[in-house]
Amino acid sequence: MNPVLIVIIVAVVFLAGCVISISNRLNKARVKIDEAGSDIDVSLTKRYDVLTKMVDVVKSYAKYEKETLFQTIQLRQGMTMREKNEANRLMGESFERIHALAENYPELKASANYNTLQKAIADVEEHLQASRRLYNANVSRYNQLLVTFPTSVIAGMKGMTREEFFSAEETKRQDVKMDLDF
């Protein structure tokens, strides 16, 4: 066989191997982001559950309407990262409102239910932080792959674009109304 042909075949096989390997690496990084995104959904749901329980406890002490304690928040599958950030921000505001309210009701602050929920809040916040860090670590790694050679070439061919980080952004969209539909 012609030695030049052998060299060409070896080079083509090598190149194909590289392309497959890089492509798989990118796909794995993408899958990890999706998994971490689902992890954020779970943490947000847990946070929402504690928030609703908290609202029920507060309502039994202070005759407030549910709507004054927290804006209606909608959690649904397939939310974008911007929507998740927004839902998270709204929950944070609701917690702050409840804490401020509890200051005026010593009986509420001293109640066993309220204290149990305070611990639960601390725990879900930690879980949410863990999910956020895990997600952002994966996004950071993925985004780095998109800008470093040679993965950037394959990523460009596959049409892969940068992913958004999950952060508690201060987006001032007070008029957002969401319904619970998860």
Binding site: A122, D123, H127, N136, A137, S140
Partner: protein, 310 residues
Amino acid sequence: MDELNELRKAARNRTLICIGVVAALGIAAILLLRQSGDRFLSFAILPVALPIVLVPGLLLSFWVTKKPRQRYRAAFKDAFVKRSLESVFTDLRYEPEQGIPYETIAATKMMYMGDRFHSEDYIHARYQNVRFTQSDVHIEEEHQSTDSEGHTTTEYVTIFRGRWMIFDFNKEFRANVQIVQKGFRTARRKRFFGKKETLFKKVELESETFNKQFQVYAQDEHDAFYIITPAFMERIEGLAAHNKGKMMFCFVGQRLHIAIHDNKDSFEPGSVFKAIDEEKATRKIREEIEVITQFIDELSLDNNLFVQGE
């Protein structure tokens, strides 16, 4: 204190007598060989003859001095160690001759257990209301070698010597997590073959400095990020800088196991040839106790904010 000094002197005297007897035997062997007349022969036989006299002599000395040394050691631990432990911990149970069982450490499935296991200085107590257990642990591996004549010799090589501590952990987690300082060579975990949820994956945390010093493995990445917060990472880095020896942290079954491989045998008396300096001995024991308390203080294990029902 006087009684302790008497015990030390008894152990020292017995040891001195034994050293004297063995030395006398050695000298006698040399003199006998020199009297044989043939100088070359006596020098040629010496390397063989001396061990024949000295090795059994030393073994006999060890056996003869064992009891007084043990009595001194037990009295020291009772006088200094137990008293110091009682001043720091509550609900104390201290058993100098016992240790954390082999099965407890093996059950973590995160440590290579070697061929010979020894554990002593069992402490079970509470500090800042955190329950813990600790022991000195010594793990050895059997090494066999065969010479050109086919003689096989067996020796035991230390693969882990240091502390093993078990603390109640203040966060609830589902999956097991392991943090191994680079250089800690006896860490183990299952990474291949078996049920997916029991296999460990390498986890890269966001801190480059932490990743350079430590390797993290977890059955679930979320739990690794949940347990190892940025503040927790900084504290572990601080503890690693403060402690000699390499460390491993295992989060298993709501407990935190910490292994420190520093080749030290803690809570032991000094040499029988040195008079006891009460202040110095107490300070040494205090420093050894601080190895336990620093983990509870630094890692804020007494913070029960995340544990439901506390």
